[in-house]
Structures are given as C-alpha cells and as structure tokens.
Symmetry: C2
C-alpha cells in the first residue's frame, strides 16, 4: 500500500492477499449469460452474479477481508459501521463467522429484509435518518460508545482490496472482456475493479453506471473533484452515498466513463432481468443494463462484464408494484 | 421401447438418445445449494435449476426431443399441443429452432408472461377455458384443422424420455443422492426421473410433491388407479392436470411416495426460496421444499435432489401480493 493524504491506497498485492484470506468464507459466484439479452443489446454480456454471494452481496468480500485481517488485540471490541444495507449485513456476517461484536448504523428506511438479515447474523442495529449527515452523526455516537474498529463501507483500503477480488474471478471465468460495467454509489466496487483490472487487464474499460437522480459521481467525474449530495432519492437504494477520497482516487484515475439512467429505465431493466434471467437482484444492479440498453452503439459487438452486485430485495415492496 | 396398452413406454436408451439429440438446444443447468436452507431443513439439498433452462422450464427437454425427432415428411404441418403454459412455450421454442409451425391451446387464465413467450418464439395460441374438458375439446378442433403432430405435454414417450435427461445431469453434478423430490402434475418430470434413476441409480428414492388442493396423483397413488379432477384450483398453476396411462405406469411402479402441501405452505416456501436463494421460480417449484419443511424427519441427514422445474412467473401477479 502507498500513502496518500494520510490514507493508504491498496495495491494489487493487497487484493491477492484479500482473496486468499476471504476464500474460505465467500462463494466463487457464477457468471451467467442470456442469449435474449445479447440479442436485445447487440453485445455479449457476462453477468457476475454477486446476488448469489454469501450475505447476498459483493460487499461481503471487503467486509470479510477487514474482519479476518483484524489483529487479536482488537477482537474484543469488534467492528462498527454505517451502511444503507448490504455492507451492514456483510460486516455482520463476517463478524459472526469470526465471533466478534458488530454494531451498525442503518437508515430507518432501509429494506426490512436487510435489517432482518443483519440481526440474523448477530449484528446490532442503531437507526438513523436517511441522510448522510444524520448517518454520520448517529454513527459517531455508536463508535464512541462501543470503541469497535470502524470498517467504512467503501472508503477503506481493506474493503476496496476485498471488492477487487470480484473482477479477478470475472476475468478468470470469461475468455477476455472489452469492458466491465458496475454500478457506482460510494465507489467501492468500482474502485476494487479499477485496482484489479489496471494491473491484470489494463486494456479492459471500466464503466460506472449511476442513477440520474443520484448522479453525484457523474458530476464529480465531469468536474474533476468530489461533489456530494446529502439525501438523493432513487429506487437504487444502494447507490445514494457519495464518493470519498479513496474511491475518488480510483474513479478519477482509472474509470473510462460514467453513464446514467432514469428511474423508469432502471426499473424496466430490473424487471427485464428478473423475467428473462430468473434471478432476484436489487434495483441497483439493474443500472448497468439500463445504461447499456440506452447506449447500444457503445456496447454493440463488445464482450461486456456486468456486475450484479446484490440480491437483498424486499419482496413485498417491488418497484413495479402499485402503491 | 416396449408396447403396453398400445402406448410405447420409453426406456433408458431412449433417454440417452434424447440427451444426445437435445444437447445442442438446451442448457446443462446449474445445481445450487443454500447453507441457510440446509440448516433449516436438516437435509443437504441440491437444487437443479431448470428455471434457468431454455424457454424457462424443464419442459423444453421433452418438447425438443419430440420436435427434433420428427421425420422430414412431417415437418410441413408441424406440431400442436395443449398446455397450462411451459410445455406450450417449450414446444414453440423447439419448433422455432427447427423452423416448423407450432399450434398450442392454452387456458385463457394462463400467466400473461407465458402467452407472451409462446408468441415470441413464433407459436400460435388458441385459448380455452381453464378445465381439462374445455382444453381437450378446443384442442380437438385445432388438431383437426392444422393436422400437426400432437406432442402431449406429458403422456408421450418422446416427452418422458426428454424429461429423464434432467435427473441424469443431476446425478452427474452431485456426488450421490439419497432422494430426488420433484413436483407432480401430469407426471412427466416424475416419470422421466423414474425412467432414468431406476436404471442409473435404483437406490435413490423418488418422491413426488403435490398441492393438497390438486392432489389427484396422491389419491391415485393410494387408490391404485388413476383419479382425475376436472378443474382443481391451486397457486401451483403448472400442477393442475391429471395423470395419464404412461405417467401412471411410472408413478405406480417406481415412485416411493407422494407428499402434499397446502397453498400457504407452498407460497411460504416460494417466497423463502426467492429471498434466500435469489432465484425467480414458479409456485409449482416450491411444492417440494414445502413438503420437505413439513416432513423434516423424513429428510434429515439425507442428500436430497430438488428439481426447480421452471421460472416463468408473471411478476405483476406474485402470490404474496395483495389483491
């Protein structure tokens, strides 16, 4: 790791070490294809199904890397974090596997299924309002009280190194790719993807996909500095958080482009994927396909990896349901 | 094949020939596991995911075997059938791949997604009322008019031989099983499973799972002869049809037992599978898990194959939605 602005930037070796550390605790998730979606887009799509991952999301990679890398002396007080959902339950899962405490701050509006899963893994939830400011304030209290090690959902080198293991597997499971498209919220998955591909396959373009209604990463990318919104509203509830310095480093130096999609385009792509691929996935995971359908010329004839980031959906509140 | 009551009973060699014939046109579907469901049931479950199959269901195996086994002289008039849905679209898929006509009679209450898929593959639909009597009457007219070769959804040796390829793959993909549980409607999948396992692995028990509200196979099994209901009502819409002489042959000679589940148990098992395994599957496919959860003692400690038969769901009408 190299030091920048007092934060350690993880390197390729950190990703390799993470992969070895987390392998006993995660799935090597399958890569699925769909001839229907290939015909529809004109591209050859390879879906890396992290919705089938332990704890239902890629975030278990980074969380498990952080938890299993903790030295003995820090185990008693455990870990703590704030998260819109999947990092919370991933950290709870990893902490449960290692038998240490896990305290998480979650917005009260987070899907019930995610809250249930956190508690099922043994995590303790403190609720906050659904804004970045409330989340950070409530978290400061929890952290002061529990003294657990803070594992940030994405602005943490251990987490980014862990997320980078996903695109390493994707490259091993496919016979070469032209591009990888992944959703961007705080930028943890995209940063891990950049970390891995910039060494392993620097010719592969990294495209980030973002909801129009939470397009702070897109605007940051165009402006050349971080722009953060406090409480954006989007059906892609995993993508509401802003970039931070570590993820901004990877986004600003390695990402090829950021594309956006409307709420309707995201829901349509989500329902289309459920219908044709028969997989349960979150709205956030549909943003890449929505941007591919919207920018067909750019992807036509290309071999495109698409990261399906998670499958923790509240089945009683699907976005195409009335009310 | 051997002759019984003028109907040919398919044998193990027919299944092997079917597998070779259909292999270019179908997926070798994955087998998924869930540590959560293993913990919950006390059994070791292996889910054969035919919801990821071409046309979204195992029925494409039998339909493709029939269509690609047709001699040249019968191609012009094509094929015809009646079906509650998945056989209709499987036959349409297979006919489309071979470039021949396909006429199907479907109940007007069949899920819209299935009707759309039939038309998408190039099939022609004639609607009937949702009862066996109406279905058979309307079909007689369609068959007389089109003169297509009738591919029955299950009472056809070509179809049963095709369905048998599924459990052959399941056995290859697992390291030995104690039991296989599959849903039973007309009995095509169960018959194919019996056909294959009685030769390949005769020690494996074959358990059929059926909705209480459409338990004609259960009552037939207990009575020792076919009992048929005209229009049973169940959320498991693929399982409403009665046994026929060919499937009754396999059910009466090879099936170990038939277990039933209530509507509520089926919907609960369906939602549980979607939530934990992140797969989209039909209510019919949840009947096996519902019966396993209800009869835990019987399955505890066993290695159990479970056939997830299809994933063609109307996402606007999920059974846990209000209204």
């Amino acid at each position: 790791m190299k030091d920048i602005n007092k934060t350690l930037i993880p390197g390729f070796d950190d990703m390799l070490a993470a992969h070895e550390r987390i392998a006993p605790h995660i799935h090597r998730t399958p890569v699925l294809t769909s001839s229907y979606l290939n015909d529809l887009t004109g591209a050859e799509l390879f879906f890396k199904c992290e919705n089938f991952q332990k704890a239902g999301a890629f975030k278990v990679r980074g969380a498990t890397n952080a938890v299993f890398g903790l030295p003995e002396g820090m185990l008693e007080k455990g870990v703590c974090t704030h998260s819109s959902g999947n990092h919370a339950l991933s950290l709870s899962y990893a902490a449960g596997r290692r038998g240490i405490p896990c305290n998480v701050v979650m917005p009260r509006t987070a899907p019930q299924a995610k809250k249930d899963a956190v508690r099922g893994y043994g995590g303790t939830i403190t609720e906050c309002e659904p804004s970045t400011s409330s989340r950070e304030a409530v978290f400061a209290e929890v952290q002061a009280k529990t003294e657990g090690d803070f594992v940030h959902p994405y602005n943490d080198p251990r987490v980014i190194a862990g997320q980078g293991t996903c695109s390493r597997e994707l490259m091993e499971q496919t016979d070469g790719l032209d591009m990888v498209v992944a959703p961007i919220g705080g930028g943890g998955m995209i940063s891990g993807t950049c970390l891995t591909l910039s060494t392993l396959a620097p010719e592969v373009q990294v495209i980030a996909a973002e909801p129009e209604q939470a397009d702070d990463a897109y605007r940051s990318f165009k402006a050349g500095h971080i722009i953060a919104d406090d409480a954006p509203e989007t059906v892609a509830d995993g993508l509401k958080v802003p970039l931070k310095e570590l993820t901004w480093h990877f986004v600003s130096t390695h990402v090829t482009d950021i594309l956006t999609a409307s709420e309707e385009e995201i829901v349509d792509a989500m329902k289309l994927t459920w219908t044709r691929m028969k997989i349960v996935m979150e709205a956030s995971c549909a943003v890449p396909l929505a941007t591919i359908l919207k920018n067909k010329d750019r992807f036509a004839g290309k071999r495109v990896g698409v990261i399906i980031t998670g499958g923790n959906v509240d089945l009683d509140k699907l976005p195409w349901m009335a009310g």
